[in-house]
Symmetry: C2
Subunit: 191 residues, 2 copies
């Protein structure tokens, strides 16, 4: 399982045999059944998680309502940056949508790795930059457009989503109610 994560890392910066081994040494694997939790609000996030297979949903709870922030599928990386960096309790809930196989490593081990093999610093920086850019793209999508346009763009960008995620989670991700998404779909079908 860790092989595929290593492949990903190698596309960012190439690793020597030694570096790869040092990295593998800090990883652990873990399985999650559908509906089990990777993270609950109030936890402290100390791990980075690589999704080998399956899918997860990240949401915040605001006024008793779940606001879906992101979906994760195979080959994605997840960590709560805020909690991971500051050590504060997280506001995020992460739940398995499907059974998952995961690869994890801890912040502590990662920092030792940074010191032993500086190439991982580079990987860490580039990952952070990518996280920023992707958050920024999500921002643009969700704040500049009407729900209908957001839905259209989402279909184009991630058609896979609709095969694997219940529609009411997608509605929540788009910032609307399931009934409204249903209406939007109807409206678009008739036009």
């Amino acid at each position: 399982m860790t092989d595929r994560l290593l492949q990903q890392l190698n596309t960012i910066a190439s690793l020597t045999e030694t570096e790869e081994q040092a990295f593998v040494a800090i990883t652990t694997t873990r399985r999650l059944r559908k509906k089990e939790w990777l993270m609950r609000q109030g936890d402290i996030c100390r791990m980075v998680t690589f999704i080998y297979s399956g899918s997860l949903r990240l949401f915040h709870t605001v006024d008793g309502e779940e606001k879906t922030i992101q979906f994760f599928f195979e080959n994605a990386l997840y960590t709560d940056y805020l909690s991971f960096l500051t050590g504060q309790p997280t506001l995020e809930n992460v739940q398995a949508l499907e059974d998952c196989a995961l690869v994890q490593f801890s912040r502590t081990d990662l920092e030792q790795l940074y010191q032993q093999h500086p190439v991982f610093e580079r990987i860490g920086r580039i990952s952070a930059e990518r996280a920023f850019l992707s958050l920024s793209a999500r921002n643009t999508l969700l704040t500049n457009q009407s729900p209908e346009v957001r839905y259209q763009q989402l279909i184009r960008a991630r058609p896979d989503l609709f095969q694997r995620v219940p529609q009411y989670h997608i509605a929540s991700f788009l910032g609307i109610k399931p009934e409204s998404l249903s209406r939007i779909r109807k409206r678009m079908a008739t036009r």
Copy 2:
């Protein structure tokens, strides 16, 4: 002018005399009159800009409409991360709301500085992390709440804004029309 930027950097990681001098050597200063442009859509962003005094507005143009993304005041840093990192043309427009005094340095010079004085790598990383966290906070504000609540939170978070920025720009920042902001204010005044 560069003094105050140095002060800011020193709060992130302390710099030696030599490092400070090396940094000062790559900075240039610049003035901008009200309504002049720091950046136009299509430009390539090669600079980081520190606002010594004055204010700027960052907006995107979507379907011919200006969507205000952020305001910058004295002591803020601005760069278009996407364009700065990838060298692609920017989607951002940045215009002076008031006369500005700015300190700038280029990406090229910054990268040389990284190599000569690794402490700047650290500063760069932490700045990127902060940018991520602040974008994330802005996200939460703008996507989870109704316009009225967003307005209330904005007043509490940035009361200064309303002294220095026309109301229709604030409306745009909140994702609504000026007329609607006017009505929200009226509604809140009577209740």
